[in-house]
């Protein structure tokens, strides 16, 4: 009962944050969607990092390390430490600059303007939403699973509670509320993550001293999990493309546009690798140590425990009730700090890119916000329904989602740095990616086959390679945007006139 009360208090705090930020709401869509471009370095760091770290990072990484050992850190974390800041630097800064200059709110607005085509928007919208669905799903699955492991409340009810709380504070606070909640939740999950690590080391090692417990926990693990002896080089190499997906996440795009100025990016670029280290290294170690725990191994083998519920089970087993409640709140914080940005972004895209642009008066502005909320509730309801039947695990779903966004990375790079990109080239690339992704996802049993490959290659290689090739070849064969448009994006002086 105690963990349930603590989780309840934590969720109530989030609702209070949403209400508080609502008091600062100016009633305009630019304030609701972009916090009036007022986010400074610290909030930008926390919101970008909190949005990036999902159920995938905490629960998925622990479960995947349980199966594959310490190689999971190199597979996902150290590559992200190098390449996520590259995306902030290479794409985020430029997007922020263009967004400020031309007043974009969404990724699709940028592409439509850059390529002089509304068609690219109509094409990108369903693709982006379709790829966000598995991303939202992993949050819903992870949240419900964690609550069930610690409190015994069935996952389907836990997921519903999480969705309800996040929807409420996003609706009340918009982007400002989301940024505040993200900062708060990132602090919570990082602080509680460190505490969790110490508690679990003590519990899993079972020795008096901390170092002795570390040694004991490691000693029980099979040697193959302490190296990458069972990890194929080709898979490891392919995963290097996965962190590039962040460059095309529509919700990260929206966060970039909230920055107060270019300097606000400096702190996120420098601190992001260290934050990744603080979150991922303990999770990978805990997952690897769990592989040496015979009880956990038996429960997973008997299908009494999903790999995505291992972290919750360990917390429940090795900490007291109060601590279990606090640590669960930390895990939920990481999950919700991503869901909120995704929910807000879905609403933004729907109203801006589908319903229409730039509300003409205050009444339209309010209707816009209402329509955004309705669409988000619909998508969340679909995701929740899927969470009840989906066969794949958190990590597998995450990789499928990231593979799709990684394949679109060449599109944003080309749009920002290649004058030769054409609307037909871009549309062809998106179509090829969507078609291939859909076929392979279906062929893999909707993500259920963890060793799926096409022509012996990982899906991210096939998708990225095919998309890049099509974008380049078709662009070379078709007509470029007008010189007037190109000059706006490539020759414009830094100071707006």
């Amino acid at each position: 009962m105690t963990p349930l009360i603590i989780i309840g208090i934590y969720l109530a705090i989030l609702l209070v944050l949403g209400v508080s930020s609502n008091r600062l709401f100016k009633g305009t869509s630019v304030d609701y969607l972009l916090a009036s471009h007022s986010i400074g370095p610290f909030l930008l760091l926390m919101s970008l990092f909190g949005t990036t770290m999902t159920a995938f990072s905490l629960i998925g990484s622990t479960g995947y390390s349980f199966v594959h050992g310490i190689g999971v850190y190199g597979l996902m974390a150290s590559s992200s430490a190098i390449l996520h800041p590259l995306c902030f630097y290479l794409i985020g800064l430029k997007v922020w600059s263009l967004g400020n200059r031309y007043g974009y709110t969404t990724q699709i607005e940028f592409f439509e303007d850059r390529l002089e085509s509304r068609r690219i928007g109509w094409l990108l919208f369903p693709v982006a939403v379709g790829l966000i669905v598995p991303y939202v799903l992993i949050g819903i699955l992870g949240g419900g699973g964690t609550i069930e492991a610690v409190t015994g409340i069935p996952a389907k009810y836990g997921s519903l509670i999480i969705c309800g709380v996040v929807l409420t504070y996003v609706f009340l606070g918009g982007m400002r509320g989301t940024a505040w909640a993200n900062a708060f939740q990132t602090c919570v999950f990082m602080a509680l993550g460190v505490i969790t690590f110490f508690v679990l080391v003590k519990g899993m090692g079972g020795e008096d001293g901390f170092v002795a417990s570390l040694k004991a926990a490691t000693a029980s693990v099979d040697e193959s999990k302490l190296s990458r002896v069972n990890m194929p080089h080709s898979k490891y190499f392919a995963y290097l493309l996965i962190p590039l997906s962040i460059g095309m996440f529509p919700h990260i795009f929206q966060h970039w546009l909230t920055a107060r100025n270019a300097d606000a990016f400096k702190l996120p670029i420098v601190a992001h690798p260290l934050f990744v280290l603080i979150v991922w290294a303990p999770c990978v170690l805990i997952g690897t140590w769990a592989a040496g725990d015979s009880q956990i191994v038996e429960m997973v083998a008997n299908k009494e425990l999903k790999s995505s519920a291992i972290l919750g089970e360990l917390v429940n087993r090795h900490s007291g009730e109060i601590l279990a409640g606090l640590l669960t709140a930390g895990i939920l914080a990481a999950i919700m700090s991503s869901l909120d940005s995704q929910f807000l972004c879905l609403g933004t895209m729907f109203t801006r890119d589908i319903l229409g642009r730039r509300a003409s008066d205050e009444g339209d502005d309010k209707n816009t916000v209402l329509a955004a909320r309705g669409f988000v509730i619909g998508v969340v309801a679909v995701c929740y329904g899927l969470s009840l039947v989906v066969p794949a695990g958190v990590f597998a779903l995450g990789i499928w989602c990231f593979s799709g966004f990684s394949a679109l990375f060449p599109l944003i790079v080309a749009a920002l740095y290649w004058r030769g990109l054409t609307k037909i080239g871009a549309c062809s690339g998106v179509l090829v990616m969507a078609g291939l992704w859909g076929f392979m996802f279906y062929d893999s049993g909707f993500g259920a086959d963890p060793k799926y490959s096409l022509l012996g290659m990982h899906q991210v290689i096939v998708l990225t390679g095919a998309t890049t090739l099509v974008i380049i070849v078709v662009s070379l064969l078709t007509e470029k945007p007008s010189e007037k448009t190109l000059s706006r994006f490539f020759n414009e002086p830094a100071n707006p006139k």
Binding site: G27, T28, I70, S78, A81, P85, R419
Partner: protein, 110 residues
């Protein structure tokens, strides 16, 4: 393909490589060093030399994991270096470019 299109593509590629870390926005001089270090970091990420090594540092930290933790710290130092020496946005121009609160099209509706 049109005649010269390949040359054009190469020109665009060169412009891309020359733009971000070398200042597309402002006046920072061309700095190829960050690109070179980045390539080294990416290459160092594929550490085949520790692949099958399960040696434990301090009796508990697998060397493969220890190496990648160190690589994450080096990445932070690298990005600090890049931000200090090859910031692609001219600071004065960027300050002027940042819009005052509420001055966008939507904001002005208030």
């Amino acid at each position: 393909l049109r005649l010269g299109v390949l040359a054009e593509l190469c020109g665009d590629a060169a412009q891309f490589v020359a733009s971000p870390m070398l200042s597309r926005f402002g006046t920072t001089p061309m700095k190829p060093v960050p690109w070179l270090i980045l390539l080294v970091l990416v290459a160092a990420h594929h550490d085949f030399w520790f692949w099958n090594d399960s040696t434990l540092l301090g009796g508990w930290l697998p060397i493969g994991l220890g190496y990648h933790i160190a690589l994450s710290i080096v990445a932070a130092v690298f990005w600090l270096f890049t931000v200090k020496t090859a910031w692609p946005v001219d600071d004065e121009a960027a300050s002027a470019e940042a819009l005052p609160e509420g001055s966008t099209e939507e904001g002005s509706a208030t």
